[in-house]
């Protein structure tokens, strides 16, 4: 084949290709409207949905840490005072003991209530994200933080309330499942069914809602 022939053939190819997938009028405004809508939906809800729970988790962790420190110092101080008082009068111990318990118990209760409210928000968010197939890294990190806090609360052993103890134990299981599910990021329907089964069979959401006073429930849940 000569160069001339190639050129001629190429000319014909180009000529014949001109109508290949020829576009009609550009739907300029329709596309712009969809671009704006998509950008709004991608940016706005994601931030408002996830930023506050992360902040809430951090705040809960700080409050809990402060509560534990204050509780321990109070306990140490009151036991020293109790020992000193013991040398003189016996009834002094009985006076400081319940006071220390009441304070430690109040700090713990506040921390637990905040944690339960956040757990409810996490489970609700997880359910709705999983339904849409939009489980992401932020949800994974959130569930990881919540599981750590749950275990800290369980390990602290401060609660004498069997209902709270059982609820924390149930939450531990559910949050472990959620954490593993979000870490895999595969949107497996069977795994999701298992999580739903754990939540429903243990009545986790009902227990959470009945344990929380209305004012501690996070907005938008």
């Amino acid at each position: 084949m000569t160069i001339d022939k190639d050129d001629r053939a190429d000319g014909m190819l180009i000529e014949a290709s001109r109508d290949y997938n020829a576009p009609a009028a550009v739907p300029r405004d329709a596309m712009w409207a969809r671009i704006e809508a998509a950008r709004k939906s991608r940016l706005a809800p994601k931030r408002s949905r996830w930023i506050w729970p992360s902040a809430a988790v951090a705040a809960a962790a700080v409050i809990m840490a402060v509560g534990v420190v204050v509780g321990r110092r109070w306990e140490r101080g009151s036991s020293r005072a109790g020992l000193a008082a013991n040398t003189t009068t016996a009834p002094a111990t009985t006076a400081t003991g319940p006071e220390s318990d009441a304070s430690g118990s109040l700090s713990y209760k506040l921390v637990v209530q905040k944690h339960l409210a956040n757990s409810e928000a996490l489970i609700t968010s997880f359910r709705s994200a999983a339904k849409r197939g939009e489980v992401d890294a932020q949800l994974r990190d959130w569930s990881k933080d919540m599981l750590s806090t749950t275990r800290m609360l369980e390990a602290s052993g401060t609660s004498s309330d069997p209902t709270i103890k059982r609820l924390l134990s149930d939450l531990d299981l559910v949050l472990t499942q959620i954490k593993l599910y979000t870490a895999r990021g595969t949107n497996d329907a069977d795994d999701l069914d298992l999580i739903e089964e754990s939540i429903n069979s243990r009545g986790v959401m009902t227990k959470l809602r009945s344990t929380l006073p209305a004012r501690t429930l996070p907005a938008g849940t």
Binding site: A16, R18, N21
Partner: protein, 186 residues
């Protein structure tokens, strides 16, 4: 790319990053026509072309702060758009290949011969069948009239590679049409 054009690009990007909605619309208006045309040529479907164009602009706005101005804004946008289109077409091909066995495919050999109709149809089928490396170069250069410099910038390849790919694409198309149109093409 002239220094003036580079400056205009930077100013527009700067205004977009400052959150000026008019600047975003101006950026879109300046480039949407050419990008949509290319998306349509690559996708062969108005809905897909619109989807790819939208996705390209959405990604571009999301990553606008990454635009360094090393290439023109047009080249940068085209790079995103072509990447979106190629990924999108891969998905579409996978879906189509699953349904191909069920649907009837047109029997081109059984159609009457004629340059304006059937040769074009055969040519279009041959362009569709070009590899992922050759097709964008052929479509951009021979169909949409992009220069090798623009293609090279968009696809991130040397100009020589763009020329070589165009040469290969044309050779494959000539071969595909040879049996159909006889010596006039091959």
């Amino acid at each position: 790319m002239t220094e003036n054009a580079r400056l205009i690009d930077r100013q527009l990007v700067h205004r977009c990053l400052a959150g000026e909605p008019q600047a975003e619309r101006a950026l879109y208006d300046a480039h949407v026509e050419r990008i949509y045309r290319l998306m349509h040529r690559m996708a062969g479907d108005a809905d897909l072309a619109a989807d790819f164009t939208q996705e390209a602009f959405i990604r571009a706005f999301e990553r606008l702060e990454q635009f360094r101005g090393d290439s023109s804004l047009a080249t940068w946008l085209h790079t995103i758009a072509v990447s979106v289109a190629l990924n999108g077409m891969r998905k579409v091909k996978r879906i189509r290949s699953r349904t191909e066995n069920i649907e009837d495919t047109p029997d081109l050999a059984a159609r009457p011969v004629g340059f304006s109709g059937d040769l074009k149809l055969r040519l279009y089928t041959a362009i569709d069948a070009l590899s992922e490396k050759l097709r964008p170069v052929f479509v951009m250069h021979d169909v949409e009239g992009y220069t090798h410099e623009e293609i090279a910038g968009t696809l991130g390849i040397p100009v020589g590679t763009s020329k070589a790919r165009l040469f290969d694409a044309r050779a494959k198309l000539r071969l595909a049409l040879a049996a159909f149109a006889g010596d006039s093409i091959a």
